[in-house]
Each structure stands twice: as structure tokens, then as C-alpha cells.
């Protein structure tokens, strides 16, 4: 047991690859806890950011600047009455949220937070993620069907249609990124050979970007960028978020497939939704934005740049701490605000401490990859909020049209052109030889 625990520390494989089930379990727990915490944080950030987009304050009462609001919400949801409608199919009604959460979190085991920071590195990692996340729609259909009510039924119908159609475009965009892993040369932009075979492993995809000195979003510009754009649109539809939030369209279907759900079951759906957002954002970050790599790992190489970039995560946390201190100083001096002010000072201190710990050389080299990855995922999360504040909702037929008539042909075109672009030198050579 102890052997298993210490033996892995010197390994440079993922626990899955090293066959170390103990560390795999630790990783699973860490990811589960981390993502759950991230969901709570995201909940707060979304409400705050959305509020500021909409000239409101958002949660302000529970904790300083509403920081404890997610916890208060969680407690409220857990203590709420758990209603199962009389006409519902009880077993399926009970299973649906569990199923959704299960699939939502199972996808996360191949997410590479770092070269070794994943539970396991499957050779079909990306395929596995797509497969499991599309199983999630089953839970939504179960929820809609088991509720035995019209709004959930329509919500789940929309959801299944939407997910199935956008998965096609999404898959094609992903395939073009996977093809890029095999094109090591400059393709249409210069000489070089297409060597080796591509890979579906999440870690190998990032390694390929490292080896090719380019994030795939910039490779064969603008092909990578278009594929990335298609994925970035499709992933919003895939996670049922605005402006593609038809399955839970509030103004049409009340709450869509989870209309009949309340309390903890409802919160499980929310948890799964945010976990799903995290999962697709991490696919996007892995495939196109260089995964755990810091920006410019090759162009700005050298010990000085390494040092500078490795200080960024800690420094950012220190900035957050400074913001917390600043806001704590600005808190009203009223006696009733005393605890809140102290709480904010305390929070700032904790964040500052974590930031300082992250500046320690031994720590910062080990967590640099994780922090860069989380930052990239956070960028997508912010986009989600931004879209939600800006766009009206698509109608069902328009959604389908965008999926099938715009995204799918473009994705297919990009896929083909990527292949041609990557093989340009070979094709030219072949044409010469043929003549």
C-alpha cells in the first residue's frame, strides 16, 4: 500500500498508465472535488458577471459580495421537499439526474490537466469523451419522459434533436484537429513532410502541439481557427446554454426537461450541466489552445521567460487577493457589516497565502500546467456567461438550420481542406513524379 503511494511519485506516467489504482482513486477524488468546487465558484461568478452586465449587483447578502451564496443555495436545495409527480415513472425519474451526473463526471477522467495529471491516458481519449458525453442526452430524455408532463417532454425532444445534430459538426471539427496531429510539416505554407500517424489520446494531442511548435488554433491558418470556431459554437449547443438553451428555454418551456424536478435532483442537473461545460471547454482547450502549455513555450523559451511565465498563476492569485483587500477596505463601516468585512479580509488573506505558496519554486513548477489549463477553461466559461448576457435565443428550426446547413458543411469543408493543406508537399511531389 505504502509502496503504491510513494512509488508513483517518481513516475512520469498517469496513474492509469502506471497501473497504480490507489493514485488513480486519489486523482478521481481530486478531480471530483476540484470540479465541484469549480462549479460552485462558477455559479457565483456567473451570477455576479451576469449581474454586472445587466447593471445589477447580483448576490450581495450571503457573505461578502455574496461569496457564500452557492453554499446557501446548496443547503437550500438539499433541505427542500423532494417532489416526485404523481404520474411520473418513479424509477426513471429517480435515475435520470444520477445518470446525467454520472456521464458528466465520467468524461473528466481523461482530461489532461498536465502531462501526468490525468486519471488515465486512453489511446482513444477524445473519442471516449465524445461518446460518454453524448450518453448524457439519454438522461435528459429519461427526465423528460419520466416526468409525464408536456413541457419536459418537449424540452427533452428538443434536447435530443439538438445534441444529435450538433455532435456531427462537433465531431468533424474534432477530426480536423486530430488530423493536424499527424501533419508535422508546414503543409501548404511550406515544405515539410506529413509524418507519423495521428493520435486520439488527449495527452498526445497536446504533445503533438508542443512538438509542432504551434497551437492547433493557429495551424494552417485559418483552417484551425475555423474548426475551433465551429467547435466553440457546437459546444454551447451541446451543453444547452444560451443562445442555444432551447431545451430549458425559460420563456417557452418554463424550465424544459427539469420542470418537474426540485431540490437535490434539480441541483444534480445543474451540477451535470456545469460539469459538461467544463468537459467541453477542456476539449476545446486541449485540442486547439495547447492544453496545459503556457503561451509561447517555444518562441519565448529560455530560463528568464520560463521564470516569468511560471510566476503568472501565483501573481494572478495575488491580484485577486489585492482586489479582495481593496473591496474589504471599501466595505461600509457599519457595525452590521463587521463580520462580512472581516470575512473578506480573511478570504483575501487565504487567497494571498495560496498565491504565495504557488510562487514557491518547488510548487510552481508542479502546478504550472494545471493552472494554465484551468485558466484556458475559465476563458471559455467566461464566454458562456458573455453569450448568455448578449444573445436572444434561437428558434428550434433555426437552430437545426445552423447546425445542419451552416456548421456541418463548413466543418466538412475544413476537414477536407485541412487534409489537402497538410499533404500539399506530398501532392506536389506526386504530381511531379506522375508527370
Amino acid at each position: 500500500m505504502l509502496d503504491q503511494l510513494t512509488g508513483y511519485l517518481s513516475s512520469n506516467l498517469t496513474p492509469g498508465a502506471a497501473g497504480n489504482s490507489l493514485w488513480a482513486l486519489i486523482y478521481i477524488l481530486l478531480i471530483f472535488a476540484g470540479v465541484s468546487f469549480f462549479v460552485m465558484l462558477m455559479n457565483w461568478v456567473e451570477r455576479k458577471a451576469l449581474a454586472h452586465f445587466q447593471i445589477r449587483l447580483g448576490p450581495m447578502r450571503v457573505g461578502p459580495h455574496g461569496l457564500l451564496q452557492p453554499i446557501a443555495d446548496a443547503v437550500k436545495l438539499m433541505t427542500k421537499e423532494d417532489v416526485i409527480p404523481a404520474g411520473a415513472d418513479k424509477t426513471i425519474f429517480w435515475m435520470a439526474p444520477v445518470w446525467v451526473v454520472l456521464t458528466g463526471f465520467t468524461t473528466l477522467i481523461v482530461v489532461p490537466f498536465g502531462p501526468t495529471h490525468a486519471v488515465t491516458d486512453m489511446n482513444i481519449g477524445i473519442l471516449y469523451m465524445l461518446g460518454i458525453s453524448s450518453l448524457g442526452v439519454l438522461g435528459i430524455i429519461m427526465a423528460g419522459w419520466a416526468s409525464n408532463s408536456h413541457y419536459p417532454l418537449m424540452g427533452s425532444l428538443r434536447s435530443s434533436a439538438q445534441m444529435v445534430s450538433y455532435e456531427v459538426a462537433m465531431g468533424l471539427a474534432i477530426v480536423s484537429a486530430i488530423m493536424m496531429t499527424s501533419f508535422t510539416g508546414y503543409g501548404m505554407y511550406g515544405a515539410g513532410t506529413a509524418a507519423g500517424t495521428g493520435t486520439l489520446s488527449m495527452i498526445q494531442i497536446v504533445e503533438a502541439q508542443k512538438a509542432q511548435h504551434v497551437w492547433f488554433v493557429f495551424k494552417f491558418f485559418p483552417l484551425g481557427f475555423i474548426a475551433f470556431g465551429i467547435f466553440a459554437i457546437a459546444m454551447i449547443a451541446e451543453t444547452n446554454r444560451a443562445p442555444f438553451d432551447l431545451p430549458e428555454a425559460e420563456s417557452e418551456l418554463v424550465a424544459g426537461f427539469h420542470t418537474e424536478y426540485s431540490g437535490l435532483r434539480w441541483s444534480l442537473f445543474m451540477l451535470a450541466e456545469y460539469a459538461g461545460m467544463f468537459a467541453v471547454s477542456s476539449i476545446a482547450a486541449t485540442l486547439w489552445l495547447g492544453g496545459w502549455m503556457r503561451p509561447f513555450p517555444n518562441a519565448l523559451a529560455g530560463p528568464t521567460w520560463d521564470l516569468a511565465f511560471s510566476l503568472v498563476p501565483g501573481a494572478l492569485l495575488l491580484l485577486v487577493a489585492v482586489a479582495a483587500f481593496y473591496n474589504a477596505a471599501r466595505m461600509p463601516k457599519h457595525l452590521a457589516m463587521r463580520i462580512q468585512t472581516l470575512g473578506l479580509w480573511g478570504l483575501g488573506a487565504v487567497i494571498a497565502l495560496v498565491g504565495l505558496i504557488m510562487l514557491i519554486p518547488a510548487v510552481r513548477v508542479r502546478i504550472a500546467d494545471i493552472s494554465w489549463f484551468v485558466m484556458k477553461v475559465g476563458f471559455f466559461m467566461y464566454l458562456y456567461i458573455w453569450y448568455r448576457a448578449t444573445f436572444p435565443r434561437y428558434r428550434f428550426d433555426q437552430l437545426m438550420r445552423v447546425g445542419w446547413k451552416v456548421l456541418l458543411p463548413v466543418a466538412l469543408g475544413v476537414l477536407i481542406v485541412t487534409g489537402i493543406a497538410g499533404l500539399t508537399p506530398e501532392l506536389l511531389a506526386w504530381a511531379k513524379g506522375a508527370r
Binding site: 408536456h150 413541457y151 418554463v254 448578449t390 436572444p392
Partner: protein, 388 residues
């Protein structure tokens, strides 16, 4: 067992669209009960939708959940006592209701409000039109899924409500006018403040337009949705911006000027296609026209009394009168029958929302569920007025 040929009230379904006139539900049809508790039926409207998948085959509006018997109340109160009640009908445009009622009774007793009162009335009602359109715009956008405009419009509406509050002490159900003129003299700095609000509003309208007018999704969601041509509008009695968006240039402020509207210069914005987008554009343009009227009124506001000579006890001559004004939502008419007593013999109110709501079925047949919500929004109904 539910009788599928009939709706929940035992009435037969209206004729279906096209060849499919059978009234039984086959496996692909679904009756969806939308409301009265629904986030976007604007209160307590209940629409029973007959759907084929997402497609709407027919609708049945069930109203009356907010019925308070306003007309009957009017027959049991003196003319003066009834005035505050009308504010409760269209509660997002209370000032317009009050103007309609006051001018109707004035016509009945043959009194005209003094010029200063008329100007104050115009300023207040036009401010109210802006506020009403802002509520409409925010909720309509929310129905279509854009959350943010709602908060912008409500923020700006606040400035108008502040003026109301300062003028008459109430923000929503104002009872600002009185039969024969105005209840209150303007407060110190009224003109300046109104001008300030006008200057404040102009760029804000641009802000709403920035979010919506050229937004691809907004345009796709509204263009060609809920079409209604001019003849259909006339046949259904639809008035207001909905009528004007269909290309009919009919505005009671120009057609039958009341309260001195003939002294002001303004355009009547009209649309072409009569779809949801045109209705949106017409209303947005009306916002600017209202500002134009307010500016003229504030600049030329005359001095003088604010209340005409009206007897303390109103006892109108025997007779009947119909008087209508252009409320933000359309033609708001009052039909009053007087038997010479203190109370009207019959009080009939023609609310624009109620009449416009008739068009819902015609507009949404063949569209999708999401469009029903958009069309309810674009009709700009207020259930307090529909049910009275």
C-alpha cells in the same frame, strides 16, 4: 376520459388549418396548456395550444383570471370616483387610461381642459408612452431570450417614474388628471427635469437598438413572424403600433386630435410587412417621436389655469358618448351612457390589448411554440386591461 374534440371548456376546437379539419387528436398531436402560470404569458393569460410536434395547429385564449369588473364598478360610482379605477386597467400606462377617461367625460359634459392642462397632459401621456414601450421592449426581448435589455429599459423607465412621483405622488397608478384638467400644478423645475430626461433618454434608445436591431438572432426570430396585413388588422379591429406596423397610417393623435395634439409636429412611424420585427421598429421609432412631442410641449407650455370650470357634483345630461385616445397599445375607447344621474348608466371600455389579443390565433397558426411567446410579446398585452 377527456373528450378530445373539445377544449377544457367543452367548446369545440376551431376549424383547423388547411385540409386537416378533423378534430380528433392523433398520436402526433398534443394539447399544451400554456398559462395562466407561465413565465411569458405576461400575467395570467392562458393559451391552450394544439401542437403537432412544435408546430402550432390552433390556439384558444382563456382570459378572465384578472377580471375585476371595472366596467361594473364604473356604473356604481360617480364620475369623479371612477377616475382612479381606470388606472388599474393598463397598469403600465396608467396616465393614458386616465387621459382617456377624463377626456371622455369632458366630452360628455361639454367642457374643455384649459391649454396649460392640455400641455401638461400631453407631456405626461407621452412620458407614459415611453415608459410603456420600455416595459414592452424589455419583456418582449426577455421572451425571445435576450435577458439584458430588460434591465436597461427598467433602469431608464425609472427616470420617468421619478417625474410621475414628484408630480402626483404615485409611480404606477398615478391618477394624475382630473375631469376638466389636471389635479396638480407642475412642481418647481418640472420643465427642466423633463428636458433632462429627454436628453437622458435619446442615447439610451440607441443602446437598446444596439443590442437588438441588427442582432442576427433577433432579426431571425422576429422577421416574418406573426405576419398580419393591413386588411386583416382592420377586420380584427387591431389598432396601435400593431396596425401601423402593417402599413396602415392610423394614429388617433393625428386622425382625431384630442387634448391639443394637433398643435404638435410629429411623424407616424409605419412598417411594411406587419411582422414582429416591424412592430419592434415602429415602437422604437415611436419612442423618438414621443420625445419630439415632449420637447415641443415643454418649450411652448403656456401659463394659465389648469382646471376648467367643472361643477362640484357632476350630473351629465342624458346621452351617450364614445371617445377614444391613442394609448401606447392602441385605441383606448370609453363608451359612456348617461341617464342624467350621478352615476353612468353604462360604462363600456374598449381596451386595445383585449382587441389586439384576438389576432393571436391568426398570427401563430403554422408557427412554432417559440413564436407563440414572441407574438404574445409583440402584441404588447396587459392582462389587467384584457380582463378589466
Amino acid at each position: 376520459m377527456v373528450d378530445n374534440d373539445r377544449d377544457f371548456y367543452g367548446q369545440e376546437w376551431k376549424e383547423d388549418r388547411g385540409e386537416k379539419s378533423s378534430t380528433y387528436l392523433d398520436a402526433s398531436e398534443l394539447v399544451l396548456n400554456m398559462g395562466p402560470q407561465h413565465p411569458s404569458t405576461h400575467g395570467v393569460l392562458r393559451v391552450i395550444l394544439k401542437l403537432d410536434g412544435e408546430k402550432v395547429l390552433g390556439t384558444e385564449c382563456v382570459i378572465g383570471y384578472l377580471h375585476r369588473g371595472v366596467e361594473k364598478i364604473g356604473e356604481n360610482r360617480t364620475y369623479t370616483m371612477f377616475a382612479p379605477y381606470v388606472d388599474r386597467m393598463d397598469y403600465v400606462a396608467a396616465v393614458s387610461n386616465g387621459l382617456g377617461y377624463c377626456t371622455a367625460v369632458e366630452k360628455l359634459i361639454n367642457v374643455e381642459a384649459p391649454p396649460r392642462a392640455q400641455y401638461i397632459r400631453v407631456i405626461m401621456t407621452e412620458l407614459q408612452r415611453i415608459a410603456s414601450h420600455q416595459v414592452w421592449l424589455g419583456t418582449h426581448a426577455l421572451d425571445i431570450g435576450a435577458m439584458t435589455p430588460l434591465f436597461y429599459t427598467f433602469r431608464d423607465r425609472e427616470e420617468i417614474l421619478k417625474i410621475f412621483e414628484k408630480y402626483c405622488g404615485a409611480r404606477l397608478t398615478t391618477h394624475a388628471f382630473r375631469i376638466g384638467g389636471c389635479q396638480y400644478e407642475t412642481y418647481e423645475g418640472f420643465e427642466k427635469e423633463v428636458k433632462k430626461v429627454c436628453a437622458f433618454m435619446e442615447p439610451k434608445f440607441g443602446e437598446y437598438e444596439e443590442l437588438l436591431t441588427t442582432n442576427r438572432i433577433w432579426v431571425e426570430r422576429t422577421k416574418g413572424v406573426g405576419k398580419l396585413n393591413g386588411d386583416e388588422c382592420k377586420a380584427l379591429g387591431v389598432t396601435g403600433p400593431v396596425l401601423r406596423a402593417s402599413g396602415v397610417k392610423w394614429d388617433l393623435r393625428k386622425a382625431q386630435p384630442y387634448s391639443g395634439y394637433d398643435k404638435f409636429e410629429f411623424d407616424i412611424p409605419v412598417g411594411e410587412n406587419g411582422d414582429t420585427y416591424d412592430r419592434y421598429m415602429v415602437r422604437v421609432k415611436e419612442l423618438h417621436q414621443s420625445l419630439r412631442i415632449i420637447r415641443q410641449a415643454v418649450d411652448n407650455i403656456p401659463e394659465g389655469p389648469i382646471l376648467a370650470k367643472v361643477p362640484k357634483v357632476l350630473k351629465p345630461p342624458v346621452g351617450e358618448i364614445y371617445h377614444s385616445i391613442e394609448a401606447p397599445k392602441g385605441e383606448l375607447g370609453y363608451f359612456i351612457v348617461s341617464d342624467g344621474s350621478l352615476q353612468p348608466y353604462r360604462m363600456r371600455i374598449r381596451p386595445p390589448s383585449f382587441v389586439n389579443l384576438q389576432a393571436l390565433d391568426k398570427m401563430v397558426r403554422g408557427l412554432l411554440v417559440a413564436d407563440v411567446v414572441a407574438v404574445i410579446g409583440t402584441l404588447d398585452i396587459v392582462l389587467g386591461e384584457v380582463d378589466r
